[in-house]
Symmetry: C2
């Protein structure tokens, strides 16, 4: 049988209200009474029912997390940051992915309506930005981890795509590279434009530019990176530095260059973006612009928690800086 607050009240010879006060650290409880209640609680190992507390208070002390996929190489980092942060405050994390077609999303929607969680953390599943915006407008606290430069109209945590790309360009320049190629991310992503712009900006600052024929669309996959590189090679235009918009693409770039007999970094330097675990295991290991994924998860979770604590959610995105991780594919000179 479950131990309830009534049992505690009975044994401590007080009312349930007083037990509740002690439990929640309310003021105006006699010190000795409080002590007695605490003893009883320890003795019988009482823990309040999460559901009953939630129902009475109207809050679940639970956060929902919406993620398009759990198998992406960097998702674990973000999740880990989130879970660690929430657990510290005693909050639970309800995990949703919506990759089982249309009724998948409607099921999620019903959990929202059922008030299953107090706030939502989201990594944008395809084509759900409007939906999320609606939820936010309806009063659900939402913080998005903006991995693709969507710049939503609600609170979010992002990273410095532009500055990160600038850093990549400067690093390649410092290594003496002058002829650049770019394998982009999906064109519809904001981060793709930002990374491209940043890269070009830094080159322009020293009077250089990227030959438009050496900017090839990728799709953030390894195979896409391979195909893109084959296209680059087939132009016959020489290049000695490649900036891939994510690490998976960069892996494909490495593979294609190897197949073509180009030495990395001897003939060509390669820089990726993300710093997923694979990056350090690549051959050669990958120089890349590190996204602070775990920190972004932590920041998003903190934002939501402090909102529950009474603070307003910031309108502007919280932007955490990238950093360049130098490895063999584009070594320091």
């Amino acid at each position: 049988m479950r131990v309830t607050i009534a049992e505690v009240a009975l044994r401590a010879q007080v009312s349930k209200a007083t037990v509740s006060r002690v439990l929640n650290g309310k003021p105006d409880v006699d010190v000795t009474t409080a002590e007695r209640v605490r003893q009883v609680i320890d003795e019988i190992g009482y823990v309040p029912s999460a559901r009953a507390v939630g129902l009475a208070r109207g809050r679940a002390r639970t956060v929902g997390m919406l993620a398009p996929s759990l198998t992406w190489p960097w998702m674990g980092e973000v999740l880990q940051g989130i879970v660690d942060t929430l657990e510290t405050e005693g909050y639970g994390l309800l995990l949703y992915t919506v990759n089982r077609g249309p009724d998948s999303l409607s099921q999620f929607a019903s959990h929202v309506s059922a008030n299953a969680f107090d706030g939502l953390l989201v990594i944008e599943p395809p084509d759900t930005l409007n939906y999320i915006a609606t939820l936010y407008a309806q009063g659900l606290p939402v913080v998005m981890i903006d991995d693709r430069g969507s710049h939503p109209q609600f609170p979010s945590v992002a990273t410095t795509n532009r500055e990160g790309a600038q850093g990549a360009a400067r690093h390649l320049l410092a290594a003496g590279r002058t002829k650049f190629a770019v394998v982009t991310g999906p064109v519809q992503f904001g981060c793709t434009r930002e990374r491209l712009d940043g890269f070009r900006d830094a080159l322009a600052a020293v009077g250089l530019s990227v030959d438009p024929r050496l900017v090839v669309d990728g799709d953030f996959t390894t195979d896409g990176g391979t195909v893109a590189t084959e296209k680059l090679l087939s132009t016959g235009i020489p290049f000695d530095g490649v900036f891939a918009h994510n690490d998976l693409s960069a892996m494909g770039v490495l593979r294609a260059l190897r197949k073509a007999g180009r030495d990395v970094p001897g003939d060509v330097s390669v820089v990726g973006f993300d710093d997923v675990p694979i990056a350090s295991h690549a051959e050669p290991s990958l120089t890349t612009v590190r996204q602070p994924l775990q920190e972004m998860g932590v920041a998003a979770a903190r934002m939501l928690l402090s909102h529950f604590g009474g603070e307003v959610l910031p309108e502007k995105p919280l932007v955490l800086p990238t950093s360049l991780v130098v490895r063999q594919s584009a070594p320091q000179i």
Copy 2:
């Protein structure tokens, strides 16, 4: 303001009890009454409060998941299998990791006591087997995803470590390899023993064996694999096939062999275990024993769900078969 069952009852001109009956598909409701209630529900978009339903019924329709780390390369696969399965049945997943020291676990314990979830899925965090066993003994439905051959005294899903290792051995034999080395997993793990035994068994069946000096302890990390391989090479004993007990180790093996000037698979064939995403991106790509991670997650979740449906949890582990994935590091001959 939240729409409640009372509102529906009022508009449909019935009692809350009747609305509840319609909601839960109970028999003995007049067809036209039921229809009227359903219309009102649709009209005002009523969704029952998860907390209130949970409190009244004593069940949360939520499953807890305890995982030691979310950043392991294969964790995403397992999680994805679990979440997909639970979502299909409308169950939520509460995610816990307990890697913030001792109070981390006690916080989890209090969520257990608070009845925050109806059942627990677990990938064993270090030294928690007894604790989990206690929870199961106290009546919490538990299913463990046994990734390390712990063979717990409660329901679990596992894979064929022994047979998988046998397959690795046979594959190497078929490729004409005769002198074998092994980089093991942590010695205290059951799966390490099973993989070692299986490998030896298959060799013994054709009258071969592994030189004991060529069996080196690894620790399931890439660096551990590198160190182990350097030890193997320093023995001066020739070998032409390496079986690493997981893929991360195998990556380290590849790296060390490359550094030592040994060609893979020309001089040495290498086989790993797991088939994590990195495996296909290794250079050369890694032949490995595939663990059906996502399927194991699905199976564990299904087991729990059918238990909620009234079935008893099976005492024996559910064992899903491994399969050999042949890539360049140990090609088919």
